[in-house]
Amino acid sequence: MIRLALLIGILFLPLTAQAKILDIRVLRDTPAIQVWLIQDQSVPVISMQFAFKGQGSRNDPDDKQGLYRLLSNTMDEGAGNLDSQAFQKELNDHGIELSFSATRDNFIGTVYTLSREKERAFRLLGLALSAPRFDEDAIERMRAQNISRLRSSMTDPEWMLARLTNSVLFDQHLYAKNSGGTLSSLPRITKQDLKNAHQTLLTAPVRVAIAGDITDDEALEFVEKLFPTAGTTPVRDITHANFPQPENILFPHPIPQTLVTMALPGPSVKDPDYVAAEVMNYILGGGGFGSRLMDVIRERNGLTYGIYSNFEHMDGGNFLSISSSSKNETIGKLVNLTKVEIDALRQKGINPDDLRSAVRYLRGSTVLNFSSNPKLSNFMLGLMLEELPVDYLDKRDAALIQLDVEAVNRAAEKWLDSRKLVTIMLGKPTDFPVNRKIDTLPNVQ
C-alpha cells in the first residue's frame, strides 16, 4: 500500500550548499562590546540575550559559593524607585520576560518582549543593570529559595550525579565549586558582596545577541544606553583543568537504578578538526536513536531508556561525556558494552555510509534550531562566547561537505581512548567493581 520506491527516491535528494545560512548583521565589533542582530518581522516580538564575559560562578569565593547565582536572582528584584513587587508587576503586566543567570564562565541576561513594549522592556533592563536595589527583604527571600532548591535537589539522583561529576572532573579547579551555593555558604553572602560583584560585572566585556522585530538603529541605541562601561576591565584568564586519572568512582545511594557518567577529554570548538570530532560524536552517541550506543545498549539489549554522548565546552576545559542509567543489576554490563563501542570506533573506524548519514543529519538539522527568536539569539550568543566568526555555520557547512572517512577516523584515534575513561556512578550497582567510594557529596553542606 505504501510505495517504498518513492521513499528511497526521496532519500537521495541532494543537499546543496546554501548561500548564507543565517543573515547576521554585525552592529558592533570591538573587544569591549559585540552586537549581532537577526531581523525577523514575522512575529511582533524581540529576543535579546547578552553575556558579561568571564563574570560567572567561577568567581565565587570558596566560602561564598553561590554568590553569582544569588546576584542573578536579586538583580531583577527591584531597581531604581521600583521595589521588587512594583518591578515584577511592571514586567508581568506588560508581557516582558526579563531574567539573569550565571553559568560557570559568564553572567547572562535575557529579555523577551512584544515589540510594542520595547521601550519599557529596555528601560527596565537598564534599571536592573544600573540601579538594582538589593533590598534586604528581597535578598533574604532569594537566599531562602536557593536553600530550598538545594535541599530539594539533594534527593534528585541526576542532580547528585552532576554535582559529583563536577567535583571529580574539576578537582582543585575553580569549576569544582557548587554554582548554586552550599547550605553553609549561602547564609554567608552579604549585601555588600552582591554590590561588589555587581560593580565588577558592569565593567566586563559584553556580548549582545538580538533577534526579532527591531531595526539596526533602534538596537544600537538601546545597547549603547545599556552598557556604558562595558569592557573597561579585561577578562581574567582561567587555567585549564587537568583531566583526572582514570578511575571507577561510586556514590552509594539506595535507589533501584544506577546512574552513570563516563568522561574523556574532548576537543575545543576552535580545534581545526572540530567537525570531524562532531561527526565522530554523532556516530558514537550524539545522534540519539541511530547512534551506535543507542543501537547496542537500548535497542538491542534493552539496558537503558537512553544513552547519549556529548561535548562540553567551557573556557577552562573541554570534555566528552557519556550519560546513561540502568538497573543496579545490569549497569556494569552497560559500561562494558559502552567501552566495547568506544574501542570499536577507534580501532575499526567508520564506513562511508556512517559518514554520509552523519553529514546529512548535521547539515540538514542546523536550520531546525532557528524556529524562534529566542533560539536565534541564544545561538548567536553561543557563537560570540566561543569567539567563533559570524559566518561560522557557512564555514562548518563547507567543512562537512569536504570531510572524509580518514579525518573522522583520526578524530576517533585522538579522542576515543577508553583507557582514559573516568566512570562515575550513583546508585547500588551489583555487577561492577569500583576503585573509590565517595560517601559525602562535595560542596553541598
Partner: protein
C-alpha cells in the same frame, strides 16, 4: 503569519492588528479527508522547516480497566518505532536522521502523538512513514522483549528513583481514585512486567485508525500544498468504528484525605494540595475562568499568592498554583509550597487556607486585576506564535482531547469574554477551602530525621 491569505484581505488584518483580542490564535487552515482524518496546517514561513505530527485521540485512560495490566498505550508508542512489514525495526528514526530531521513521540492520558521536525522537502516521506505504521506496525519478538525492558528502565528513571515522583504519583492516584486518570501513563510498577505484545496490539487495533487521528503540520507549507499529499498517503487508509471514550467522574467522598510521606531521602519539606476541577472539554467556560485565576494568583512573583505567603506572611519560600484543564475528563488544580525554616507544614497549610478564604471575603479579586490577567494571557498568545513546534503542540493537544478547532482558534476572544464575576465564582466553586465537594487531597513530604532512622 498571514502570508497565505488572499491579497485582498491583508489590509483588513493590518488595520485590525492593534486589537489582538479579535484575532485567531494561530490562523490555521483545516480540512477533513474522506476517511474522516482531520488535517490542520499552521503556516509559518520564517525558516524552510516543518513540524509534522500525527495525533491519536486515545491515551492511557482508554486502556481496558481492571485487568491487572497497565501501560499498554505507552508500550505501543515505543513499539511503533519497532518496524512494519516494510520498514525494519529501528529504521524509522534512522531515516529521519538521514534527512536532517528529529523525531519522537509521547503518550498522555487522553492522547498519543508522533512527530518529526524536518527540512520541508521531506514532507511526503514522513507522511508515508506515519501512514505505514498507523496500520502496519509489527515488531519482531526480540525487539518487543528488549523494548519491554526499556520501558521498565524508563519508569525507574522517571519515578522509582525519585521520592518526589513516587509521592506525586500517589497523590494523583488518591485524587482521581475511581477514574483511569489515577493510573500513571507509564503503568504501575507491579503491572508493567505483565505487559505483552497482545495488550499493545489489542489497543492498537481498537483505536489506531485515520478517523481517530489528526494530522497537524506547522511550518513552511500551506494547506494547498499539504492536502494532496495527505490524500495520497493517509486518505487511502480505511476508517473503522471507534469506541466511545469513557471518563469516569470521581464520586464525592465524605472524609478528607491527607497523605504524609516521611522518608529518609527527603531533605526539603513540601506541602501539596490537589483538587478536582472542570476541564476545557467538560466545562470550557469555567475552564477559561480557572485559567484566568491561575494567571492572576500565580504567574509571577508580583502575583497574589507569592506576595501574600512569601513576601508578607513570610511562611513560604515559594508557592505555586497550577491548573490543568487539558483533559477530556475532570481537570485538576495543584497548589504546592515550600515552608521557610522554622515554619511547620501544618502552619503553612493553615496560612494557605486562610489566604484563599480571604480572597473570597475581605480581599476579593478586583475587576482591574482580572482584566489585567486577561490582557496578559492575550499577549502570551503572540509569543506562542514565535515557534514552529509550539503551535502544533497546542492545536494537536486541543483537538485530540476533544475540543473543536474553532474553540482553539477563538481562545483569545473567549478568554476576554469571561466576566470578572465568573472568575470570582470559579474561585468560590473550585478553590473554597470550606467546600466539601472538591475531594481535596493534602500531601506532606517530611524529612525523616536521623534519630528516627
Amino acid at each position: 503569519m498571514i502570508k497565505y491569505l488572499s491579497i485582498f484581505f491583508i489590509w483588513v488584518f493590518c488595520a485590525a492588528s492593534p486589537s489582538f483580542a479579535a484575532e485567531k490564535l494561530f490562523n490555521t487552515q483545516s480540512t477533513f479527508l474522506k476517511n474522516g482524518m482531520q488535517v490542520v496546517v499552521i503556516p509559518n514561513h520564517r525558516a524552510p522547516i516543518i513540524t509534522h505530527m500525527v495525533w491519536y485521540k486515545v491515551g492511557s485512560a482508554d486502556e481496558p480497566q481492571g485487568d491487572g495490566v497497565s501501560g499498554e498505550a505507552h508500550f505501543l508508542e515505543h513499539l511503533m518505532f519497532k518496524g512494519t512489514h516494510r520498514i525494519p525495526a529501528g529504521e524509522f528514526s534512522k531515516i529521519i536522521r538521514n534527512i536532517g530531521g528529529n523525531d519522537n513521540a509521547f503518550t498522555s492520558w487522553d492522547f498519543t502523538s508522533y512527530f518529526q521536525s524536518i527540512p520541508k522537502e521531506y514532507l511526503s516521506l514522513v507522511m508515508a512513514l506515519e501512514a505505514d505504521r498507523m496500520i502496519n506496525v509489527s515488531p519482531p519478538p526480540q525487539d518487543i522483549a528488549s523494548e519491554h525492558k526499556v520501558i521498565i528502565e524508563e519508569r525507574k528513571q522517571r519515578t522509582d528513583n525519585d521520592p518526589k515522583a513516587l509521592f506525586a504519583e500517589q497523590m494523583r492516584a488518591a485524587l482521581y481514585n475511581t477514574s483511569a486518570y489515577s493510573i500513571p501513563i507509564i503503568g504501575w510498577k507491579n503491572e508493567m512486567p505483565k505487559l505483552e505484545w497482545r495488550h499493545a496490539k489489542d489497543y492498537h487495533d481498537r483505536w489506531y485508525a485515520p478517523n481517530n487521528a489528526i494530522l497537524v503540520i506547522s511550518g513552511d507549507v500551506t494547506l494547498e500544498q499539504a492536502q494532496p499529499l495527505a490524500e495520497k498517503y493517509f486518505g487511502i487508509l480505511p476508517p473503522q468504528k471507534i469506541p466511545a471514550h469513557v471518563r469516569a467522574d470521581v464520586p464525592n467522598f465524605p472524609a478528607p484525605v491527607t497523605l504524609k510521606f516521611e522518608n529518609i531521602a527527603v531533605q526539603q519539606p513540601v506541602y501539596m494540595r490537589a483538587s478536582l476541577a472542570p476541564s476545557l472539554v467538560t466545562n470550557h467556560h469555567d475552564a477559561y475562568a480557572l485559567q484566568i485565576l491561575e494567571n492572576l494568583l500565580s504567574s509571577s512573583s508580583a502575583s497574589r499568592l507569592y506576595q501574600d505567603l512569601v513576601v508578607k506572611d513570610k511562611v513560604a519560600s515559594s508557592v505555586e498554583l497550577s491548573y490543568d484543564g487539558s483533559l477530556r475528563g475532570q481537570g485538576n488544580i495543584w497548589i504546592s509550597a515550600l515552608p521557610v525554616d522554622g515554619v511547620s507544614l501544618e502552619t503553612l497549610q493553615e496560612k494557605i487556607t486562610a489566604t484563599l478564604r480571604r480572597y473570597m471575603t475581605s480581599q476579593p479579586l478586583t475587576d482591574e486585576e482580572i482584566k489585567t490577567a486577561q490582557r496578559r494571557m492575550i499577549d502570551q498568545a503572540i509569543f506562542a506564535r514565535d515557534s514552529v513546534v509550539g503551535p502544533a503542540m497546542l492545536v494537536g493537544q486541543g483537538l485530540a482531547m476533544g475540543l473543536t478547532l474553532d474553540q482553539i482558534e477563538n481562545w483569545p476572544r473567549d478568554v476576554m469574554a469571561i466576566s470578572p464575576d465568573a472568575v470570582r465564582r470559579a474561585l468560590k466553586d473550585y478553590l473554597d477551602p470550606d467546600a466539601e465537594n472538591l475531594n481535596v487531597i493534602h500531601g506532606f513530604m517530611i524529612p525523616q530525621n536521623e534519630e528516627k532512622k
